[in-house]
């Protein structure tokens, strides 16, 4: 019988009622008396020297309150990269300043170089148009292609960086020679060159920010679409504007999806705060979708050559990759870690491969910044591995299921140190593959293929077995690797005098359902009803601290902090109970919401203890403070390692090249599952995005740096009729060994495991259909690309 409350129950989401009633409170819904409107003037050229920003006429236009240019922010700090990466030769990465508004040069189409604040939105737009029309920008050659950028020493995105290279990273550099030797001695080497296509995250809520300044106290408030308000506060306060951290409140109210793009601090946030101070009025900015396409951090954009060395039976001997990763025009906050430590460290997959070497050159181009997008580095690693393994199986005529099985790490090998520096704590990769094979009815594939063939369709089956490192992250480890912040999290559990509970958490929900799931966890731990618990998030003035939600970390890290805080509540409760029950503290047990004296029927309810804490008439005041509120910080001992096996079946229309996903099956190990309904929903969403990457989505700049896919007219978002019902399963559980809930994280899984399963299925369909020359097609495998591949023998 499934549980109907607490840990493991599919509790319905409490946040849904407001969303379904039109009563959500997103940033654009917030109306503040006296608010004015900001509009940004964005570059229409990819690369140019700013000769003149024409502000005068605009400043005199009706309703215009202020005009800002890069000059106004020349003296304040830049928006920093959160991670220092060193090149193979030990030199630190190149780190150009990322200003609030472009100064000196514009570096991508959409780079904001001026802003107007006006009484109305239309007045701001009218004035911005005049600035755009009258400003002079001397156009420079656009640097778009990564290989050309690295070879070009004349044209520079940043004048001080001659080869447009941020760093040339080797992982692990000391292993390079051993890997080369393994390749030289290998009986077989498979090589694959592939592109991990650039994506636009496209959270359905465009970014928006409101700045407020309170002259009476000197306080600032930023209401913004953020996945991590404390991190934004830190960046704005300590790095960009120099506002004392205790004078700035950052609120992220309901946020309409993030997928990575709302982790980062953006210049628009600094601008509305600075403008609010100058004008002593609230300043609001809401992106239009076309602005989001141009200015949100994009994702992926790797060009990779991967090599696999193996014996003739398909036993892996070594992997080696060379990757160019695009960071765009400026370093966004996580841009330097995404292609390195979130990518190279996963390049051993779930396999017992002895040798791995990863080289990543990260390149500046005149395109929008590129940063973490759902999966962040790990989808790129998984795609490279799972594609090259599939290619090798075909070359050696080996069964892709059997090859993965024989190379899997086995359950007796944990904890296992990989050749790329991670220590996998636990897992059972055979089990998830068995489960996927069962649920996906691999045995029935041949019959389905024949049925498709009878309709004139080519059917294919694709497999991907994936692993990721999430629960980001142990601070001591990431500190060694260059992180400039700690990656712990925090929570406060406040038991109110009347017995209900407020839990202030550093994680931020922008669709994940924390308000429901976190309440389930605390309800279970304290033996109280879920309905008596309120989860508070997204407001730096209310929550103790937090590093926010990304990297599938909310439950593994913040949930652990919350659990530690609950433990402290229970420990204090035991002290109070011991006093009230006149027993020794060591004799008090806590279960089902009751503090009892072991071996007796003497007990106090949780509510009685809470009341006593706030009305301490019969209370050990000499040794114990009144009140029942505890805060805990939690820094994980290790990453968590969710893993799984994904199966995709496609039909290819041989006449048009159109690919239809017929079925998609996921068998995942997420450790313990708190709310199965929500976990399944996370996988559905990730798989939907992965199918989008594989079949539909592409971000294309032309050679002049104009974004050709700047709206939903050309950027193909997956729609309801592009995808099937998915089969998902999370019943294979190896609990995480080092966090109290035994959870691993499920947010990114679907987006990591699915693209290679889709592409492997497409190639399988084409191969089985007689198109033996087609061994790879780059994503997205659009009908046109598939047709061209089939017909260009």
């Amino acid at each position: 019988m499934p549980k109907d409350t607490g840990i493991g129950a599919s509790s319905k989401r409490r946040e849904d009622v407001r969303f379904l009633s039109g009563l959500g409170n997103y940033t654009d819904d917030v109306v503040i008396a006296g608010q004015s409107y900001a509009i940004f003037v964005r570059s229409t050229v990819a690369h140019g020297r700013i000769v003149k920003v024409a502000t005068e006429a605009a400043a005199a236009m009706p309703g215009v309150l202020a005009v800002f240019t890069g000059e106004d922010f020349a003296a304040v700090g830049g928006n920093p990269a959160g991670w220092l990466i060193n090149s193979r030769d030990g030199t630190p990465m190149k780190e150009p300043k990322r200003p609030v508004l472009a100064h000196g040069k514009v570096r991508h189409v959409g780079d904001a170089y001026a802003a107007v604040v006006a009484e109305t939105l239309q007045q701001a737009k009218d004035a911005a148009q005049v600035i755009s029309d009258e400003s002079e920008i001397e156009e420079l050659p656009a640097i778009i292609d990564m290989a050309k950028a690295l070879a070009d020493t004349t044209n520079r995105v940043h004048d001080e960086i001659p080869d447009n290279q941020c760093y040339d990273w080797g992982w692990i550099e000391d292993n390079r020679a051993a890997v080369e030797a393994a390749f030289k001695a290998a009986p077989h080497v498979t090589t694959l060159e592939l592109v991990n296509n650039r994506l636009v995250p496209n959270a359905m809520e465009p970014r928006a920010s409101i700045g407020e300044y309170f002259p009476g106290t000197g306080d600032y408030k930023l209401t913004t679409t953020s996945q991590n308000p404390h991190l934004t506060r830190l960046l704005v306060a300590a790095f960009v504007l120099g506002i004392p951290e205790n004078k700035l409140t950052v609120v992220a109210p309901d946020v309409g999806g993030g997928f990575g793009s709302k982790i980062y601090h953006y210049g628009e946030e600094a601008l509305v705060l600075a403008a609010a101070k100058k004008l002593k009025r609230p300043v609001k900015w809401v992106a239009e979708r076309s602005e989001s396409f141009l200015s949100d951090a994009h994702g992926r954009d790797h060009v990779t050559k991967i090599e696999l060395a193996c014996d003739k039976e398909g036993n892996f001997l070594a992997f080696r990759t060379e990757t160019m990763a695009n960071v765009g025009a400026y370093l966004s906050n996580f841009a330097t870690v995404t292609p390195t430590f979130l990518h190279g460290t996963l390049m051993a997959g779930p396999y017992k491969v002895p040798h791995v070497y990863v080289n990543v050159k990260t390149v500046f181009t005149n395109t929008a910044p590129v940063d973490a997008y759902r999966g962040a580095g790990r989808p790129e690693a998984t795609y490279s591995l799972e594609r090259v393994i599939d290619k090798m199986c075909r070359e050696l005529n080996l069964d892709p299921f059997e090859v993965r099985r024989k190379n899997f790490l086995t359950t007796d090998m944990f904890p296992y140190t990989t050749p790329v520096g991670l220590v996998y704590d636990t897992g059972n990769y055979q089990a998830t593959l068995d489960k996927a094979v069962e649920l996906g009815d691999v045995a029935g594939f041949e019959a389905r293929r024949a049925a498709s063939a009878a309709k004139g369709k080519l059917r294919g089956l694709g497999l991907s077995t994936w692993i990721e490192a999430c629960g980001i992250a142990p601070s001591h480890l990431v500190g060694i690797l260059g992180a400039r912040v700690g990656l712990y999290d925090a929570a406060t559990v406040r038991v109110n005098a009347t017995g209900n509970i407020s839990v202030m958490v550093g994680a931020h929900s922008h669709g994940q359902g924390h308000e429901t799931v976190f309440a389930q966890v605390v309800a279970e731990q304290l033996g109280v009803p879920e309905s008596s618990i309120e989860i508070v998030h997204g407001d730096t003035s209310k929550i103790p601290f937090g590093m926010g939600s990304y990297g599938s970390r909310s439950l593994a890290v913040c949930g652990s902090a919350m659990t530690k805080a609950v433990d402290k509540i229970i420990a204090k409760g035991k002290k109070i109970a011991a006093h009230m029950l006149e027993a020794a503290e060591g004799d008090i047990t806590f279960a089902d919401g009751k503090f009892s004296v072991a071996g007796t029927d003497k007990a106090k309810t949780f509510g009685e203890i809470a009341f006593s804490a706030y009305v301490p008439h019969n209370y050990p005041l000499e040794t114990l403070e009144p009140g029942l509120e505890e805060t805990a910080f939690y820094d994980p001992a290790n990453f968590t390692y969710p893993a799984g096996a994904y199966l995709c079946e496609v039909e290819v229309d041989a006449e048009t090249g159109k690919v239809e996903v017929c079925s998609f099956t996921c068998a995942d190990d997420f450790g313990n599952v708190m709310n199965p309904m929500i976990v399944e929903g996370q996988v559905h969403g990730g798989v939907g995005q992965g199918i989008g990457q594989a079949l539909l989505e592409n971000t294309t700049y032309d050679e002049n740096g104009q974004l050709l896919t700047g709206s939903y007219m050309d950027y193909a978002m997956p729609r309801a009729d592009d995808v099937p019902f998915y089969t998902v399963d999370a019943s294979c559980v190896t609990p995480c060994t080092h966090n109290p809930l035994g959870v691993k994280g499920c947010g990114e899984a679907g987006a990591i495991g699915s693209p290679p399963a889709v592409i492997n299925a497409v190639i399988d369909a084409l191969q089985r259909g007689g198109h033996r020359h087609v061994t790879h097609i780059d994503m997205p495998v659009s009908p046109s690309r598939v047709w061209s591949a089939m017909n260009n023998a």
Partner: protein, 161 residues
């Protein structure tokens, strides 16, 4: 500015608008009905779908003055008379048909229009009807399930077809 009058969620409302004021803008800024969302500027995402005279339309692509005299229904008008969630809204909650909630108002309004036209749609009909509503969170799985369930159909049976 021109005065416009229409019925919104059963109530007669008026306001002063520009020619360029979109129906979505009038609802959000004029009436404070912020459940209608703006997710794109090319009439594709569907977050702004409302019903005008019983038909689903994209309120970001209709001028407020073009809706003069019309009867408009928004997500705020979807609940039952007693304030409880309507069948379609409740089905979205029951089947986890939403995550971040941003596309949800438009999804619900489109789904309600579908079920009014076609009370027992097939899975394929649901997917086709919702092609003008983009969701980035759910992979559509639970949205389609929610709509099928709201139509009174046995979801596992439909999914198995």
């Amino acid at each position: 500015m021109t005065k416009v009058t229409m019925t919104v969620n059963g109530k007669t409302v008026s306001g002063e608008v520009d020619g360029r004021t979109l129906l979505s803008g009038f609802l959000r800024e004029g009436l404070g009905l912020t459940g209608t969302h703006i997710g794109c500027d090319t009439s594709q995402c569907g977050a702004c779908v409302v019903h005008v005279d019983g038909k689903a339309i994209k309120s970001c692509t209709m001028f407020a003055l073009d809706a003069a005299g019309a009867s408009v229904k928004t997500i705020e008008g979807m609940a039952n008379a007693d304030g409880s969630l309507s069948v379609i809204q409740q089905s979205f909650q029951d089947h986890h048909g939403l995550q971040c909630g941003f596309c949800t108002p438009g999804m619900v309004m489109s789904s309600a229009a579908l079920l009014a036209e076609n009370p027992k749609p097939t899975e394929a009909e649901v997917r086709h009807y919702l092609e003008g509503n983009i969701c980035r969170c759910t992979g559509y799985h639970n949205i389609v399930k929610a709509v099928l369930a709201a139509s009174g159909q046995d979801v596992p049976a439909v999914a198995a077809e």
